[in-house]
Symmetry: C2
Subunit: 312 residues, 2 copies
Amino acid sequence: MPSFFDDRIFREASHLNGFSGNPIERWSEARGDIEPEAMLAADNAALYLFADDRALLRVDGDGLKPRFRPDEASGLGLDRGSLILLGIGPDGPLLAGLVPASEARPDDVKAIDLRSLAIQDVLDPADLAALAQARSYLHWHAANRFCGRCGEPLLLKGGGVARACVRCDMRLFPRVDPVVIMLAIDGDRCLLGRQARFAPGMYSALAGFLEPGETIEEAVRREVKEEAGITIGRVAYHSSQAWPFPHSLMIGCHAEALSTDLAPDADELEDCRWFDREEVKLMLSGEHPEGLKAPFRMAIAHMLVRAFVERS
Amino acid sequence: MPSFFDDRIFREASHLNGFSGNPIERWSEARGDIEPEAMLAADNAALYLFADDRALLRVDGDGLKPRFRPDEASGLGLDRGSLILLGIGPDGPLLAGLVPASEARPDDVKAIDLRSLAIQDVLDPADLAALAQARSYLHWHAANRFCGRCGEPLLLKGGGVARACVRCDMRLFPRVDPVVIMLAIDGDRCLLGRQARFAPGMYSALAGFLEPGETIEEAVRREVKEEAGITIGRVAYHSSQAWPFPHSLMIGCHAEALSTDLAPDADELEDCRWFDREEVKLMLSGEHPEGLKAPFRMAIAHMLVRAFVERS
């Protein structure tokens, strides 16, 4: 009798996407009872620091160091009101906090965007994943200082796992926005589009926010119809990716095109067209004659395209 | 050469979950430019109405009628400030709005919880799915009347697709909370637990909110570890379900147990244990000797359990 677990189905593609592999034990229930400030005193406590949405890194001979000791964080102007506890890392408690965006910093401390860090692949994946967690939490807390129901200032609850209203009792938990990102396929061709903001020559899979009341598959069909005018039949989940800009969950799928005449939404896409497998291979290898490019390796869209090229 | 689309992978389980099959064309971009009030004048416009979180239904000879004409909605005390546009249904524009919870209503108009409607399977699935969409939007708008960043009252933007702050320019979009729900499997056994609030004798799959910075598979492993003490290896996506309580996306998976000694979190689960396939079959068919039950058919947990029983 075949196993319920079929190797073909169970290859975990998500682990190959950027920002995966976070080794932090989150203790999701227990950490709500812990004051982050108290954890700063623990042996080996370390902090990830952000100035607005950019991560602080210390440049040293061996590369970029993303973790700071509590005394270093204080020296950089840590805002103690922003402190959250990410959980317990391999070497001790890991916290995150904000420093002033404007403060003068030592020459060897740089503020760098997470997207650049992921594309350049210059950090340990465990640190990159922890930075993604930290950025999503810090951004969400900064955007949720007041109660949406009654307007009262919200308190940050222990560990940063929630915010709470003392007036109306609302408890608010960090938000994760599910986004469907899908590669529509018509036989030997796949559908790629580009937004005006993309790097020159880059084409990617279509994507959009899942709306309340939809399944993943329904959202995939709606988005491809709205953005490209294409009717989708079957939808196959491929992998997922934490996307800390500011706090999305990318849900990657392959999608079977049942129609082929494109009617792109000009407000969303600058261009959108069918690419055959051979052309996509050249885009992946950087050898496309017109310089067209596939998405960066760290992005789930890259993996969706690669799976299409390799699996058929 | 085999097709990229393999029938075994591509059976769409999500379509069998309750609240799926919403036929509304959402026009997700365009409907933000439409004033819901203006759509009330359209021929064949109809409304789904809620009193707090319960749907209004008119009882008549043929069953329960969930859609109301604009004049009927006015007669029931429709709050025009709550109006949102769901999109275009098969018979015309479909809107949603709130009526006062306390207002006296005609004897033939009842306010009923969506969970009961789904379990009793008394509505057309298209109406049930539209009610799920409506409930999620209405609940979210009611909980987001003030700007989380600056505390200013938020304006509802056309169609109800967003809210916006006139003071700090924040635009806020309806929230969908991804939840992982997973059936851990050890050979011929699966792991089911029960929370104290469950109906007597009912056991279900474990579940929890996905946190910022996690992939779906990472969230599945964390939740099963935290709730039951079990280590998980491979994770396989099965299906998803819109869950309007108030606005979740249930992401259903099967998960391979790599350990079997249970250490349940007593704060979360009243009980948690391994059930062999034969026992689960009796729970599904309602013939369990001790009266233990599987989740209701409309719930994704039911389908996860059924797939385990049927596929191995």
